[in-house]
């Protein structure tokens, strides 16, 4: 029990440190929301008429539909940022200092993930506010908003774990940055931006198996329709799946790193 309390304190301290670092370098934090915001704006501005396409779900507007896509994109970028921050820490030597201190190793990974979770809550808040400001509404009401937060935070932590796993293997910030095109591919091969039944082949098939589709649809459903058991379970389930798989890989990568050293 005593051990656990100590670990919790360490995780909290490391998370606070990560958050402070992020807030003190807003130039790294800002792109996480600016790029998806711009993309959201141009998608809505250019494709607003697509809601009239046959097979498109009933929505108040294309903005309501796109909100979850922008949020998913932002959370993915947050995962890349977590990876870059970890890689910079490794390059700068701070990581070694942490490893050399008498704290449980897992807290190094968990601390940063906690910070990513808090950042994810901020991202959800930002996009919901942007949505409200430009006339979108959450059909699911307060429970719907809570569902968006739940899935957003869990998915954000999962993407952060992916970023960390890559950073722990790659070790250099520039190679973590190099995965950016891959992020685009994964994002486009999902139903984040458009209904799955309207995607072209073969992307529609890929999207069916892409957990990102379920994360995005899980957050979209309470916005455009209402809280439903299926989308909630699918959304939370796929987000948790990402957390567990990526988290395990990150912890294994950490162990691998320590063995090399």
């Amino acid at each position: 029990m005593h051990e656990l309390a100590f670990s919790a304190r360490v995780v909290w301290a490391l998370a606070l440190r990560s958050l402070r670092g992020a807030l003190r370098r807003p130039q790294f934090l800002a792109p996480l929301v600016i790029f998806p915001s711009m993309f959201l704006a141009v998608n809505v501005g250019g494709l607003t008429r697509t809601t009239a396409l046959p097979g498109f779900p009933v929505v108040d507007g294309f903005l309501d539909f796109q909100l979850a896509g922008a949020l998913t994109q932002s959370l993915l970028l947050g995962g890349v940022a977590t990876g870059i921050a970890t890689a910079l820490e490794i390059e700068g030597g701070f990581f070694d200092r942490l490893v050399a201190s008498p704290i449980p190793r897992t807290t190094i990974v968990l601390g940063r993930l906690l910070a990513t979770g808090v950042t994810a809550a901020g991202q959800v808040t930002y996009f919901l506010l942007v949505g409200f400001l430009f006339g979108a509404s959450v059909k699911g009401g307060v429970p719907g908003v809570l569902v968006v937060y739940l899935i957003g935070i869990v998915a954000g932590v999962g993407f952060g774990a992916i970023g960390q796993a890559i950073a722990l293997r790659a070790k250099s910030a520039s190679s973590v940055q190099g995965i950016f095109p891959l992020v685009l591919v994964v994002l486009f091969a999902s139903s984040a931006f458009f209904p799955r039944n309207l995607l072209s082949s073969p992307v529609d098939t890929v999207a069916k198996y892409n957990p990102l589709s379920y994360v995005a649809d899980g957050m979209r459903h309470p916005i455009i329709d209402g809280v439903g058991a299926t989308s909630l379970l699918e959304g939370v389930g796929s987000a948790l799946l990402v957390v567990l798989v990526a988290g395990a890989i990150a912890l294994l990568a950490l162990r691998g790193r320590l063995r090399e050293a």
């Binding site: 501005g45 190099g178 486009f188 072209s200």
Partner: protein
Amino acid sequence: MRASLIVIRALVRRALNEILRVPGAAIPGVLAPTIFMLGLSSVFGEASSLPGFTADDFRTFVVPVGLLQGAGFTGAATGVNLARDIEQGWFDRLLLCPAPRTTLLTGVVASAALRALLPATFLLIVAFSLGVHVPTFVGLLIAAALVMGLACAMACFSVTIALRFRTQQAAPLMQIASFIGVLFTTSYAPKPLLTDWLRTVSDINPVTHVLEGVRQGFVGGVAWEHTWPAFLSIALMVLVLGALAARGLRRYGV
């Protein structure tokens, strides 16, 4: 004049050298526009069935967007590289050489024009192999010239930013500018289909003319009425942004 050309050539060669020696760093920049083009067309492809859409195929419609995006990002990368050179002190060395300032600027910007052909070529190869309609030679030539022109204009802009902030941390500023410049146009749909605000923005945005100039080779056909506004817009952008960059260079170290 001849001496200036030699200096410009040397600077361009150094910039191209970088691509060959660290191909890994250049790959994301080369791939991204193609991925973007493929992604957009797979996701939003159905949009071309909307009434009022000018192209039968959404992919053909967004190939020009990808081409200009490659140019925009190359321009931004030029600024990021300059910021890195400033951070590492290499830029001081350039400033110490007795070549005129405009020559140095031309060298930096000209390299962006050449580098921009790389993502464009890659994108066209992928697009054509997927069955996108191949434009006429004149259409391709116009597209290439406009891509190089936009890379120059965006390079001038990001060089100005780099000279002002002198750190690579200003990179998102350069990238966002090129992102907005290229996408806040008729990138996704013909003007009548855009929302009111985006239609207004695309009316003002000179890149819209450039995009239509590139697009005419792919959708419709080459016509003088789409060609001259494109080149006039590019000329004005290079002139204005180039003047800003030259001013930034003059003020550097003051």
